[in-house]
């Protein structure tokens, strides 16, 4: 399983198949502000990256997380 699928499905308590680029706080009740911070930290750990606060706060959905990771030269495929 891709690290992103693993992280999103575990932290949000959803099925791996539900982890798509369109997944967002608007369509996922468990993606609240507290889980957003957990997601952020787990993603940084898994990809050995650090996002700036502004980058992290601008994230609106999984697709944007993928773009952000890829902009730092890592593979973020689902």
């Amino acid at each position: 399983m891709s690290p992103l699928k693993r992280i999103f499905s575990s932290v949000l308590g959803i099925d791996e198949s539900a982890v798509t680029p369109e997944l967002s706080p608007d369509n996922t009740p468990t993606w609240d502000s507290l889980n957003a911070i957990i997601l952020l930290t787990e993603i940084e750990k898994a990809f050995d990256l650090r996002f700036s606060y502004e980058e992290a706060m601008a994230i609106k959905n999984v697709g944007e997380v993928q773009k952000l990771i890829e902009s730092k030269g890592k593979d973020a495929s689902l």
Binding site: S9, V11, L12, G13, I38, T41, E42, K45, Y53
Partner: protein, 571 residues
């Protein structure tokens, strides 16, 4: 299992796995955002089939909840409470702003220990000098506070049998402060700890949870060849085994010494070995480097049967459950067999070189709850004199305490410079929020132009300012009537009766502007129970202002309110 797996359990499974099992009541009392601790702990309890009911003290309200006999914490009467305050040199807190706060908090904990049978688990704090750059801070007040707090807690642990200690400072030291702390989390989200630290500490907590749930590990069952000594006794003889002053024998001796300490703390030792019993007898008789003697072992099963069967024999012989056994064996096949056949038995990984044995033994999540509490009781006795000398201050009632806080509030009306903060408050506030109406800066600016009143309160107390934390937006209706479309308060200032004083001031101002009736709609959401309680106190959705003012006039006066400073009349 990793942290993520526990988080998944916490998110997906109901903790009440077994309805017949009375839930273990757990309380978390911290001075930071502790949701990740809660989720990790919940996941771990679910993984072990422990049904829990976890109460978190609301953010920034630990001192109020500890003092108030009617608080959620005190009413919960938890079975076990984890009390963990972070005093650190990076960010100011109640502890660093007020030297009385340490003594005051210790007194609160003492009363909690005295009045409730809850097992209180206290945490030592990391010495700030453990950070490299803290050399510049050697005289800083925060170092003295940390020492004072640690000593005070140990004194309490020595006095009250329901107090346990967790060496959180030791956990920080073991991983290094830079790894244990998350600075972005601390400054941006009120969460000062890294995931690694949360994981390590909640594992410590689990040992206490297991103990209080009666799931203690009582017995360490040991293999012999290449576990208790180096080599195979059947091949090299009782004097040829690796045990002595040179490597690797010295590592096995060290391992036996620690096992001996476990024995002295009351943990049973047993042998489960495939060997000729006579060879083992010879080792006990002839090898003087054996730290452990025959009498250290409560049970010895030495034969050529399967290790799993032997474990069952040992459990039966000692009259304890299989789930109270920990089995240590260097042979991977034996471990796999036991794990498969007896999942109740804890089988730590042990494909290790002997120099790793002591460390591996000390980090098994099984025995430290026992070890720590007894150790600390002993150590605590040393501090009792110190404790008597100091005579910690008696605690106050919550009302008296609130009055010592000297809470002040400055209210502004339609302050343009605060519009971004007002919008943010409507976006972020969930708990004390009457309508949970999210508004943009543009909307708010527009309402002000159209004649709405936006009241904002900045709250401060003797610990410092909490910023703009309470908000009311009032829209005028027909003559003499208005609607409170937004009424919210940040959780930072909850529990301080700020809302009473604020609403009183707002109503007074509205009354002076000719409003007679204020409509107060309440829209319940999943999270706004705290606001619902307050709404209930106000009665129906319509407030007759003169009656309200008459009724609340005396009560709202404990907080010093400064009112309007900068009224912007609509253009």
């Amino acid at each position: 299992m990793e942290l993520l797996e526990y988080l998944k359990l916490a998110q997906t499974k109901d903790s009440s796995l077994d309805a017949s099992q009375k839930p273990l009541k757990v309380a978390l009392v911290t001075n930071f955002t502790d949701d990740l601790f809660k989720k990790a702990l919940l996941g771990m309890c679910i993984a072990e089939g422990i049904n829990t009911d976890i109460y978190q003290v609301p953010f920034k309200q630990y001192h109020l909840e500890l003092k108030n006999p009617g608080s959620g914490l005190m009413k919960q009467a938890a079975d076990i409470a984890f009390i963990f305050f972070d005093i650190n040199p990076y960010i100011s807190s109640e502890f660093s702003e007020d030297e009385r706060h340490v003594a005051d908090t210790l007194a609160d904990i003492r009363r909690y220990a005295k009045e409730q049978s809850t097992t209180l688990v206290l945490h030592t704090l990391g010495h700030a000098a453990a950070t490299q750059h803290s050399r510049a801070l050697t005289d800083a007040k925060v170092l003295a506070l940390v020492n004072e707090f640690n000593q005070g807690m140990r004194a309490l642990a020595g006095t009250y049998k329901n107090i346990r200690m967790v060496d959180a400072a030791g956990v920080v030291a073991a991983m290094g402060e830079r790894t244990a702390r998350d600075f972005r989390g601390m400054y941006a989200f009120g969460q000062p700890w890294s995931h690694d630290f949360v994981f390590a500490l909640t594992r410590e907590w689990m040992t206490h949870i297991r103990k209080i749930s009666g799931r203690v590990h009582k017995c360490l069952v040991l293999d012999l060849d290449n576990t208790l000594w180096g080599g195979i006794v059947g091949e090299v003889g009782p004097l040829g085994i690796g045990l002595g002053t040179e490597y690797p024998g010295n590592a096995y001796v060290a391992f036996q010494r620690v096992l001996n300490e476990f024995y002295e703390r009351g943990i049973l030792l047993a042998i489960n070995s495939r060997n000729n019993p006579s060879d083992v007898e010879e080792v006990f008789e002839k090898n003087r480097n054996m730290v452990l003697k025959r009498e250290h072992f409560a049970a010895m099963v030495i034969n050529w049967e399967s290790k799993a069967d032997n474990l069952k024999t040992i459990a039966r012989e000692l009259n304890i459950g299989l789930d109270s056994l920990v089995f240590i064996d260097d042979d991977a096949a034996n471990r796999a067999q036991v794990r498969a056949q007896l999942p109740e038995v804890l089988v730590p990984e042990w494909s290790l070189p002997p120099e790793e044995y002591v460390h591996a033994l000390l980090t098994i999540d099984a025995f430290h709850a026992q070890a720590v509490s007894d150790e600390d009781r002993k150590r605590g006795e040393m501090y009792v004199t110190e404790h008597k000398r100091k005579q910690l201050a008696e605690t106050m009632s919550v009302e008296d305490y609130l009055s010592t806080l000297q809470i002040k509030m400055t209210i502004a009306v339609n302050a343009e410079e605060l519009i971004p903060r007002v919008a943010q408050l409507t976006q972020k506030t969930n708990q004390f929020n009457f309508s949970t109406h999210r508004s943009s800066e543009e909307e708010i600016a527009c309402w002000i132009r159209e004649g709405a009143q936006v009241y904002t309160g900045e709250v401060s107390d003797s610990f410092g300012s909490y910023g703009t934390t309470i908000l009311a937006i009032v829209h005028p209706n027909e003559v003499g009537r208005a609607t409170l479309t937004t009424f919210l308060m940040s959780c930072r200032v909850m529990g301080r009766t700020v809302e009473d004083a604020f609403l009183h001031a707002v109503v007074k101002d509205l009354a002076e502007r000719g409003v007679k009736v204020l409509k107060i709609p309440f829209i319940s959401s999943q999270k706004n129970a705290p606001a619902a309680d307050f709404a209930k106190k106000l009665g129906s959705g319509e407030l007759a202002l003169s009656a309200y003012l008459k009724h609340t006039g005396a009560k709202a006066s404990a907080i010093q309110v400064t009112f309007p400073t900068n009224i912007h009349e609509p253009a």
